[in-house]
Amino acid sequence: MSVAFKSAVDDHVLDELRAIVGDDDRVLGNLSSRVNRTRVPAPFPVHRWADHMPDVAVLPRTAQEVSEIVKLANRLRIPVVPRAGGTGLADGAVPLRGGILVDVKLMNRIGEIDLVDRTVTVGPGINMLKLNEELKRHGVFYPDDPASYPCSLVGGRIGAGGWSLLGARFGHTRENVVSMEVVLPTGEIAQIGDGGGRKLRKSSTALNLKQLFTGHQGTLGICTEATLELAPRPETEFAAFFAFDEYAKAWETTGRLAKSGLATLAGVVLFDEWKIAYLRRDDEAYIEQPPSVRAVVAVAMYGRRVEVEPASRVVMALGRSAGGKYLGDEISAGDWASRHDRYAIPLHGRSVEGQAVPMSWHCEDAALNYSVLPQVREQWHAIVARYRERYGIFDDWGMFAYTNGPYKPWADYLVEIDVGIWEQKLDEENWAAWVACKREIAEVTLAHGGSITACHGATRAGDAELVPAEMGSAWPVVKAIKRALDPNNVMNPGKQSLDQAYEDET
């Protein structure tokens, strides 16, 4: 069976695309349009920019247009790469083999707002902040709240299987998408939910396909419409930051807070020593703390006053129960309120000699259980230190651990290590070093029973080759599903080692 590995976009294909969308301005084959749809905020091999360019970008307005584009691609074995905000922290939206890039930003319509059955139906190109601006007047909100809240788009959140800062209280993207319309890799349009029923949250009919179509990194289809949860707007929020003189106490406190059983708990965040040291050293917005502050725990709650106010007293007691020192109302409320703006701000890091140099931020994530956080942390930092010492283009910006289980925050954590990369210095050798560094980080995760990504995606070299190992005995099932839905491997090919689904056939 032939498989789409190389692009075959020629003038004939461009003509067909123009005929499908009926608007030349939405079929973009010019160099700038391709150059600007090549990367995402993940570290990017600038020296290999041209290798990642799509051959053409198309800006569809309707599911029907997407369907026709994908049918064309499938017929001619041309790779298709879906792109929403292009703000992912892995490479879900980065073309690996050229092809047709389907940019869904024009599909940003807000459709039905159903205040009775509590859903809003939107196009995949809408941003959550923009959506919530519209929903505010109705006293409801869509509670998907990643750090990238002001910039990521609903379609990308679904493709990536996003994680929300408020997930412990309101669930993550998966829990907040009630159903969706998806264009499959062969071009058919399917309504995907828990069972049938566009506005139902729970069903036992047939197979639960909604889970399958959330977090596939654009490899199983393109979401063209989503029906989303509407939660009551919280009456109040409460945030508290506690400082610790050692990591162990902060880790202990994080566990106590996460296991508190408080229903309004929206999230607990643990900042380790490296993170505090980095903030102290290089974060322009850092509010000076005494040197004894070596780790910090942040906690937030959302809900009705009758719930949150008494619960806040429990949080204050737990936060102080293992030596935590409350950092005050101003820092607590202010830092939590600026949680989105604090996202990816560094302009610089440090060379091995301590010199400030321009660096990009990379955030390597994993899903891990609470019990292994201390050991994983030590090993991850040791890996980065080794690469930093040897190559001189990396910097360790510390680690976070965030409660990860939707509604059940007590045992799972999204763990991130922030690594600065002097991207302008990237060449083949340094890029290979970065990929190897990523791989070592992921291997530590797997050795501790973790998953190599909680939300960013395991799409790129360094992660992708470990996906079969992580999936283990389920990997044949994954391959069978991919091959069944995408017989010609046209949908975002090259990601997550899914090419292996086709190896038996060649």
Binding site: L28, N30, L31, S32, S33, V35, N36, R37, R39, V40, P41, V46, H47, W49, A50, L59, G85, G86, T87, D103, K105, L106, N108, G125, N127, L129, K130, S148, P150, C151, E284, A285, S338, D341, R342, Y343, A344, I345, P346, L347, P358, M359, S360, W361, E423, Q424
Partner: protein
């Protein structure tokens, strides 16, 4: 040929200078790459085309440094900008590093510099070229439409107001306000007169040169600045009153960059001056104005200069008014569409931006949209008239003058020219 590194006309040196000048600023954005700017950018909200994001404006420079694209390849991207400045405010680099290092991601300047490079390398846009050709001939902007623009008519707006020429305080009148919306200028002048302020006009007022600079016509802009500064000095001017926010930007940003320390003028912003006159009791707003209004934050006041308090204070000083405000941060993502030469090159995008701004106002169930910038008032008026339920657009000075009981005269729309020369 596109894609061979630099554009075909061989201006490699200019392009390299441009990249060298802007690469660090561009890399600050590229290394973050988060596009917070996307959802506040008025153009991007309409086109949803990633090439039109401020992120792309910076990424293109990194791509130029890599030899991946040349000026010709990216020129069209930089046409898609009103130079409103929202992206700079919303940039996480500005937000979090700004207070400490006074860092502000510079995107408006990048757009201006790229447009200058486009002109220098033969990649200029036809509409802008014609516009600036006419400016070079008439020394006032060929404001959109059929208004008769010439030095002969530049002070027609002041007929009957008995304003002297020269003096220590000079009122500088924007071309749009001198030829198109003269009611705005007359209202402002009448307010100053009513407060007993002495001021005069220039002997020969040329365009401030700001729009030419915005479109990349650097030398033309400089020539106009030189003329105006010489005229100010010739009449002994010490302070320049600029009611128009675009002029205010030119006089406080462009001119100082031209002349450095050799620029002795105090620049006074019209809306702050009038607000002060009201607060000091030198202007009395006694006549109630029975209108339900909201206020449009002109981008060059709010986003570029951080001026949002004075216009609101002034509005609230008008008796009888029902003022339904939208805060100035929410308005970072609003724009009239009138700036940066966009209506000349991309009128359909500018019109859609205006339509959306008017629709926002209508959600508040107001009868009048008040602005404080004549450049915004033309597109907003057009959108307001075209709306299913028409919305009147009025300038803040016109409103305040009415409340002060002053007869204004003039017109809110330029009369059609009888015969075009």
């Amino acid at each position: 040929m596109a894609g061979d590194g630099y554009d075909s006309n061989g201006d490699r040196e200019l392009t390299e200078e441009f990249v060298e000048r802007w690469r660090t600023n561009a890399y600050g954005c590229f290394s973050s790459g988060h596009k917070f700017c996307r959802e506040v950018c008025p153009v991007m909200q309409v086109t949803r085309n990633e090439n039109h994001t401020p992120t792309a404006f910076h990424a293109n420079i990194v791509a130029m440094e890599q030899g991946l694209v040349g000026v010709a390849d990216v020129a069209d991207d930089y046409v898609h900008c009103t130079q409103c400045g929202a992206c700079e405010l919303r940039c996480p680099n500005t937000l979090m590093a700004g207070d400490f290092y006074r860092h502000r991601t510079r995107t408006v300047d990048v757009v201006k510099a790229m447009r200058a490079l486009m002109v220098a390398t033969g990649n200029e846009r036809e509409g802008w070229r014609l516009w600036n050709e006419r400016l070079a001939e008439a020394h006032n902007e060929p404001v959109l439409g059929d208004a008769p623009v010439s030095q002969e008519h530049v002070a027609d707006w002041a007929d009957g107001l008995d304003i002297p020429i020269g003096g220590e305080t000079i009122l500088f009148v924007d071309c749009e306000a001198a030829f198109h919306r003269t009611s705005y200028t007359r209202a402002f002048a009448r307010l100053l007169q009513a407060a007993g302020l002495e001021f005069g006009l220039m002997r020969e007022q040329w365009c401030c040169g700001g729009p030419a600079a915005e479109m990349g016509y650097v030398e033309l802009a400089r020539r106009h600045a030189d003329h105006n500064v010489a005229d100010w000095r010739a009449v002994g001017a010490k302070r320049i009153v600029a009611p128009d926010p675009h002029d205010f930007i030119a006089f406080t940003e462009d001119y100082p960059s031209y002349y450095g320390d050799d620029y002795e003028f105090e620049i006074v912003l019209g809306v702050e001056l009038v607000n002060d006159l009201v607060k000091e009791g030198r202007l009395r707003l006694t006549r109630p104005v029975e209108r339900t209004v909201t206020y449009h934050d002109p981008c060059r006041l709010n986003k570029r200069k951080g001026v949002h308090a004075a216009p609101r204070e002034l509005l609230r000083a008008v008796p009888g008014i029902d003022f339904r405000d939208v805060d100035h941060v929410t308005q970072w993502s609003y724009c009239s569409g009138g700036g940066g030469g966009l209506p000349i090159e991309k009128p359909e995008i500018a019109e859609e931006i205006s339509r959306r701004r008017v629709a926002r106002a209508q959600e508040l169930e107001v009868d009048t949209l008040i602005s404080a910038c004549p450049w915004s008032e033309r597109p907003l008026s057009a959108a307001g008239s075209a709306a299913e339920q028409p919305l009147e657009v009025m300038d803040l000075f016109e409103l305040v003058a009415e409340s002060a009981g002053l007869e204004i005269g003039g017109h809110a729309h330029a009369p059609a020219r009888e015969a075009r020369s």
